[in-house]
């Protein structure tokens, strides 16, 4: 009997999702025993042409991490979709855009200008930028086109399952492997994590949710046993799906939302604004203004991992820009 085939890929990502797979330690041998890994750039030497040569739907499971922010990533997403029976958005970037989607607060040209001109280590008097096609003496070189807008995997291709997290925790990865091995995959569209919010799973003492001001870390020493939000520290727990093991909050760090919105919430950032506004004690406009000033970077905090998947999606583009 031939073994099922698994592919893993990284698009706009950091490699942390691939390392999370390796963090299964000796269980990686179970995965290798269970299935043939036919594509995994970080670990195995297969090329794109090997994938192109495979028959359609010949890969049983594709774990795709990373967001889609250039034309190559879009092409590989479409290629792997065609070759795979089951496509999984693996990790916060593939599910929601992740950290790379903070780029949706800017544009391709602004990023190029900052990186290739303004960067203190750049000497680029001729204003040379990456080109999709470059003629050299020996022939032609090509590069993918960088998009203005970072997209989630599901905005590009159909996706069967979503595994959130930055990175996904090992217990969820092993659960998915077990489900795959036993042929008991959940209904299409399932988000493989908890159905509760992070707050529901957090064991900190919760009393009255009323805050008089917002604190930044250097302004307060947090009580390690009490709800961070009740202490005035912005924590994304009320609008974030659980299942991560409350990793950050257990380390006395507030949640930043890498598991995406909980069931029933469409826009994680909007839900967080609503949650914080509802517990803030205000005696009028002056207090409200102060709170707005105290939250230094609301967009980058409330949409830390979810900008591409949000209703806002991105900062509005100047008229005539390439790709919204």
């Amino acid at each position: 009997m031939t073994k099922p085939k698994i592919a893993l890929y990284w698009a706009a990502a950091c490699g942390g999702c691939d390392v999370a797979v390796l963090d299964t330690n000796e269980k990686i041998l179970d995965i290798a025993n269970l299935a043939d890994i036919v594509f995994w750039p970080v670990a195995l030497d297969f090329k794109y042409h090997h994938v192109e040569e495979m028959a359609d739907t010949s890969i049983d499971l594709c774990l795709f991490n990373g967001a889609v922010r250039n034309s190559e990533q879009e092409e590989i997403a479409r290629l792997l979709r065609a070759k795979s029976k089951v496509m999984v958005a693996f990790g916060a970037c593939a599910c929601f855009g992740g950290i790379p989607a903070l780029g949706n607060f800017t544009t391709r040209d602004e990023i190029f200008e900052r990186v290739y001109i303004e960067s203190p280590s750049s000497a680029n008097e001729n204003r040379t930028f990456p080109q999709t096609l470059t003629k050299v003496e020996e022939g032609e070189l090509d590069l993918p086109e960088m998009f203005d807008t970072v997209m989630t995997l599901a905005q590009v291709v159909d996706v069967e399952y979503f595994i959130p997290g930055c990175p996904p925790p090992v217990d969820i990865i092993l659960k998915v492997v077990d489900l795959f091995a036993s042929g008991q995959l959940p209904p299409v569209g399932a988000i493989i994590a908890s159905d509760k919010t992070l707050c529901d799973e957090c064991e900190r003492t919760k009393e009255e949710k009323k805050i008089a001001r917002i604190y930044r870390p250097h302004q307060i020493i947090p009580d390690p046993n009490r709800c961070l939000l009740e202490q005035g520290i912005i924590c994304c727990g009320p609008a974030t799906r659980g299942g991560c093991g409350v990793r950050c909050v257990k380390a006395n760090m507030p949640c930043r939302g890498c598991f995406g919105p909980p069931p029933g919430v469409i826009d994680q950032g909007a839900k967080l604004v609503s949650a914080i506004a509802s517990i803030y004690q205000s005696d009028g406009q002056e207090d409200i203004n102060r709170m707005l000033e105290d939250i230094v970077d609301p967009a980058g905090t409330f949409y830390r991992f979810g900008m591409a998947d949000s209703m806002l999606k991105r900062k509005s583009l100047p008229q005539g820009e390439r790709r919204a």
């Binding site: 903070l102 990023i111 003496e137 930043r256």
Partner: protein, 63 residues
Amino acid sequence: MKKISVNPITRLEGHGKIEIFLDDSGEVVNSYLQIPELRGFEKFCEGRPVEELPRIVPRICGV
């Protein structure tokens, strides 16, 4: 001129491809390493609070 593409380069963190140009006798004339990916941390970290950067920039490379 013949071109050999090594795409993608593998078993390291990051995206890259190598183009090798050969002459008619199969000798290497020139080769190019290209990095087909940019996310733009240099730009999108601007304006974020300094205390949040230790939670953003580790995602430059997670390997």
